[in-house]
Structures are given as structure tokens and as C-alpha cells.
């Protein structure tokens, strides 16, 4: 026991960096944000796919939700690329001319052109939210409709079976 305590005290006499707490600096924030974009894309594509496969898109409300999901997926891809392009564009390409309040963008390569258009991502995200709004508006009108959420595939199969009988 005495030996064990002596060894521990000896080790504590020569401290070294423990690296117990990892810091989160540099590009980590960007990676997290891009990862979140990828997760967002995955969720929206699976949502749209599910709506289509289960034939819920036959209903007006879910058709709008489907369009919203597709549009927001495209927006995500748009924004994902935009973040990477923004990294390659130097901060000095945007500058003010004279006393002008609104700055200008110096077009030196295709990156600046891409950056210019990719920055206008609201052209995609706003329609996506409007589509969700239209879908919810229709649901608000019809709710609680009995089979608003029903997987139509089973229903259709049964109908076919009955016809065959």
C-alpha cells in the first residue's frame, strides 16, 4: 500500500499535458453545419420518397408537402455547395466603390459568379416554406379527415383483390 501511494505521488510530481478537454476550434463549426445540412437533405428526401411510395401524394395537401420537401432538399444542396464556394472566395473581392453604401463583387473567376448566384438561396427556401404552408392550409381545412395519413398501397391492393374475386 505504501509503495502504491509513493508511486502515485512520484507520478504527480512530473505533470504532463492530459488533453482531457478537447477544444472545438477552426473548421469544426463549418463541418457541423455541413453535417447538419446533409442530415436535413437525407430526412427530406426520405420524407418525399415515403409520401410518394405510400401514394399520399394523391391528396392535395400531401402533394404540397411533397413539393416543399423536394424544394428544401434542393435548397440544402444549393446551400451546402454555397458554403464551400464561400471558403474559396477571398473576403477582399467584396468592397465598396467610393462612398457607395452597397458594395460590389469583383468577378475574377467562375467562383465569384457561382458565389453571386449561390448567395441568393432564398429563391429556393422561400418557395419551399410556401409549399409547406399551402399543404398545411389544405390539411387545416380537411382535418380530421379519416384517412388523411393512411398508407394507400394496402387500400389499393384490397380493392384489386375484391375485383379479382
Amino acid at each position: 500500500m505504501t509503495i502504491l501511494v509513493s508511486v502515485l505521488l512520484l507520478l504527480l510530481s512530473w505533470p504532463r499535458p492530459a488533453w482531457a478537454l478537447q477544444t472545438h476550434g477552426g473548421y469544426e463549426g463549418l463541418y457541423v453545419h455541413q453535417g447538419a445540412h446533409l442530415l436535413f437533405i437525407l430526412a427530406m428526401i426520405s420524407f418525399a420518397y415515403r409520401l410518394r411510395v405510400t401514394k399520399l401524394t394523391a391528396q392535395k395537401s400531401w402533394r404540397w408537402m411533397y413539393r416543399g420537401a423536394v424544394m428544401i432538399s434542393i435548397w440544402n444542396i444549393w446551400a451546402f455547395i454555397g458554403h464551400f464556394i464561400a471558403l474559396t472566395v477571398s473576403g477582399s473581392v467584396t468592397f465598396a466603390l467610393g462612398n457607395e453604401v452597397i458594395p460590389v463583387l469583383r468577378m475574377t473567376s467562375w467562383r465569384e459568379t457561382a458565389y453571386f448566384f449561390l448567395k441568393m438561396d432564398h429563391l429556393l427556401s422561400l418557395p419551399a416554406v410556401i409549399f409547406f404552408y399551402l399543404g398545411l392550409k389544405d390539411m387545416h381545412r380537411t382535418f380530421p379527415q379519416r384517412d388523411l395519413f393512411r398508407d394507400r398501397r394496402r387500400h389499393e391492393r384490397r380493392r384489386v383483390d375484391r375485383r379479382l374475386l
Partner: protein, 376 residues
């Protein structure tokens, strides 16, 4: 080298940011309205979460963008570097929340579909029960009326016969003296009326045909199997149907026959263990239409088998023991027969025969007693 004004970017960004806040706010209001209508509805809950996440995303993102533009216009653009990490982090969090809520959609839909199917099944069963109850009530009321009529007839018959006899004798005596004949003829007429009324009351029989109509046995068996299928699935018992290719038509009450078959099937499922099989077959035989329910369960002990059709006899604690007695009663109402063959350790076979036309089986089998149980 050319320069492009960033004004289009600013306009799209500002208008888009405001539009996002407005429309996502409207989405949240609509979802909240849907939720208020039925707070327990899973879809309403899902939509509220989804819209809430979209609103949080739009708000955090748009406020960031609007603040940035105002700071730049006010000449404090450098301050954005302090706010950008906060805005970006909130944005990332909202992405994850939206993704989590949306990925749950599939599970949500599965739950909803399951609930819808269960609700349909419950509704169907309730309707069946309601119809059955109505038919039972009609049969009971008809039987009560018949029994009361018979009781009245039985009570009135003897005094009516005695009165009739006495009146005839008095009439004979009065013929000789000639007085009061007119009145006695009237008394005689009324007595005859009384006698014919007694005859009418006695002729009243329970009207089987009243609630019976042409039925198809295969269809009834299939519908009954559909009802017990979930119970068999839960227990891991296989239900097999070997149905006759031809239509098996008979006269009867569909609800009562289904109830009888249902009870036999439930007994079989209860007796069977995981991996056992219940074979249901239908056919047309010389005595009528037949349904055989055969299982490879543990079978019924000899001492129990002798009493299975007796009312109030049950080996299960807390049960009335009226189940198979009811089955026999229902089949007897249809002038049919029910037999149970069982060997301990090998399984049980229940044979139900229903005549194709009422009265047919009774004529063919003579004095054969329905509801007989056999031991192999």
C-alpha cells in the same frame, strides 16, 4: 475584370428572410389550429412539431441575415463576426431538429395505419355484436310470446272444454222445456269461439324462419377466421382453411352461426400452444353443409368431454361454462347437429352440420339427438 453590385443579393436575402418568417409563422399557426382540434391525434402532434422546427429554422436564419444587412448598412459590419457563430449554431441545431422530426414520419405513419386498422376491426366487431344482440332479442321475444300463448292456451283449454260440455247438456235439457233456447244458442256460439281461440293459441310455434334467410357457409367461415386471425397470430397458432369449391347455401341466421363457429375456434386457439395448427374445412354432405374444426392441441380428457355441452360446466376458473351450451343451442335452433371428437394428447375435432333447408336434417336423421359428444 468586371464588378457586380451585390444589391440583388441583398434584396433577395431581405425579402426572402422576411417571407420565410411570415410563411413559417403561418405554418405554425395552421399546425396549432389542427392540433387544437384534436390534441391526441398523432398527425396533429407531428405537424405541430414539424412546423415548430421549420419556424425555428426560418426565424434563426432570417433574423441573422436581417441583422447582418442592417449592421452593414449602419457601418458596423465588423460586429457580425461576433454574432455569426451564434446564428450559425442555432441554425445547425434547427436542421438536426427538423431532420429528427421528419425521419420519425415513417414510424408515425406505421403507428397511424395500425391504429386505423384496429379501429376498423373494433367498429366491425361492434356492428356484428349489435346485429347479434338485435337478433337474439328478437328470438327471445318471439319465444316468450310463443310460450305465453301456450301457457294461456293450456290454462284456458280445460275450463273451456268443461263449459262447452255443460252448456251442451243444459241446451239439451232446455230443448225439452223450450224456455231460454235463444240465449243458450248464443252461449254455445261464444263457447265454440273460445275453443277455436285455444286451438289457435296452441298452434303457435317458435317461428324459426322469421329471422332465417339463405346464407353461404364458406363466406361466414372466412369472415369468422378473419376475426380470430389476430388472436391466433398472437399465440403462434396456424389457421388453415380448406374450403369447398362450391357455394354451401343453407337457411339460417348469419350472426348466430358465426358466433357458434367463433366460439369453437376461440376454444381451439385457447387450447393450442405455439406451433399448433387448426384446420378448418367446409363441404357439402348428404345431411347438409358441414364445417369441421380440427386442431392438434392437447385434446379433451374423457371425463370433461362427457360434460362439455352441459350448461354451467367449465374447467376454467371464473367462466360461466355456457359457451359450448350456447353453441349447441344455436345449432339446434338451425335444426343442425354438433359433435365433438377428441383424444387426449392428439387433438380435438368439432363437426357442425347444418341442413340446407330447415327441417331437412330432422327428417333424415329421425330421432338422432343433436349435440352428441363422442370419444374415439
Amino acid at each position: 475584370m468586371s464588378t457586380w453590385s451585390v444589391l440583388p443579393i441583398w434584396i433577395v436575402d431581405l425579402v426572402g428572410a422576411v417571407g420565410m418568417i411570415v410563411f413559417s409563422g403561418l405554418c405554425l399557426l395552421l399546425a396549432e389550429g389542427i392540433y387544437r382540434r384534436d390534441p391526441e391525434h398523432p398527425l396533429a402532434n407531428y405537424l405541430l412539431w414539424f412546423s415548430g422546427a421549420i419556424f425555428a429554422f426560418s426565424l434563426s436564419r432570417s433574423i441573422g441575415h436581417i441583422v447582418r444587412h442592417f449592421l452593414q448598412l449602419a457601418g458596423h459590419g465588423y460586429q457580425w463576426q461576433y454574432l455569426a457563430p451564434i446564428s450559425g449554431s442555432i441554425n445547425s441545431i434547427t436542421f438536426v431538429v427538423i431532420a429528427s422530426v421528419t425521419l420519425f414520419f415513417h414510424r408515425m405513419q406505421t403507428i397511424m395505419n395500425r391504429m386505423a386498422r384496429d379501429r376498423q376491426r373494433i367498429e366491425k366487431t361492434s356492428q356484428e355484436l349489435l346485429r347479434l344482440n338485435r337478433d337474439m332479442e328478437a328470438i327471445v321475444s318471439e319465444r316468450t310470446r310463443s310460450e305465453m300463448a301456450l301457457r294461456v292456451a293450456h290454462g284456458v283449454r280445460n275450463p273451456a272444454i268443461i263449459i262447452s260440455g255443460l252448456v251442451k247438456r243444459i241446451a239439451k235439457d232446455l230443448e225439452e222445456c223450450g224456455a231460454g233456447q235463444k240465449y243458450f244458442k248464443k252461449v254455445q256460439e261464444e263457447t265454440k269461439k273460445l275453443e277455436s281461440l285455444v286451438e289457435k293459441l296452441e298452434s303457435v310455434q317458435p317461428g324459426h324462419q322469421l329471422h332465417f334467410s339463405p346464407q353461404e357457409l364458406n363466406g361466414l367461415v372466412e369472415e369468422t377466421l378473419e376475426i380470430v386471425q389476430p388472436e391466433a397470430d398472437d399465440k403462434g397458432v396456424a389457421l388453415l382453411l380448406d374450403r369447398a369449391s362450391a357455394a354451401l347455401t343453407f337457411q339460417g341466421n348469419p350472426h348466430l352461426v358465426k358466433m357458434a363457429i367463433l366460439h369453437v375456434l376461440r376454444n381451439a386457439i385457447e387450447a393450442c400452444s405455439h406451433g399448433d395448427t387448426i384446420q378448418v374445412s367446409t363441404a357439402l354432405v348428404s345431411r347438409g353443409v358441414i364445417v369441421i374444426i380440427k386442431d392438434n392441441g392437447p385434446g379433451i380428457p374423457r371425463e370433461v368431454l362427457e360434460h362439455v355441452f352441459e350448461p354451467f360446466y367449465s374447467t376454467k376458473k371464473g367462466e360461466t361454462g355456457l359457451g359450448l351450451a350456447h353453441v349447441r343451442q344455436i345449432i339446434e335452433e338451425h335444426l343442425g347437429s354438433v359433435e365433438i371428437n377428441s383424444r387426449e394428447g392428439e387433438g380435438t375435432e368439432v363437426v357442425i352440420i347444418l341442413p340446407t333447408h330447415l327441417g331437412e336434417l330432422e327428417e333424415q336423421t329421425g330421432h338422432e339427438k343433436p349435440g352428441q359428444s363422442q370419444i374415439d
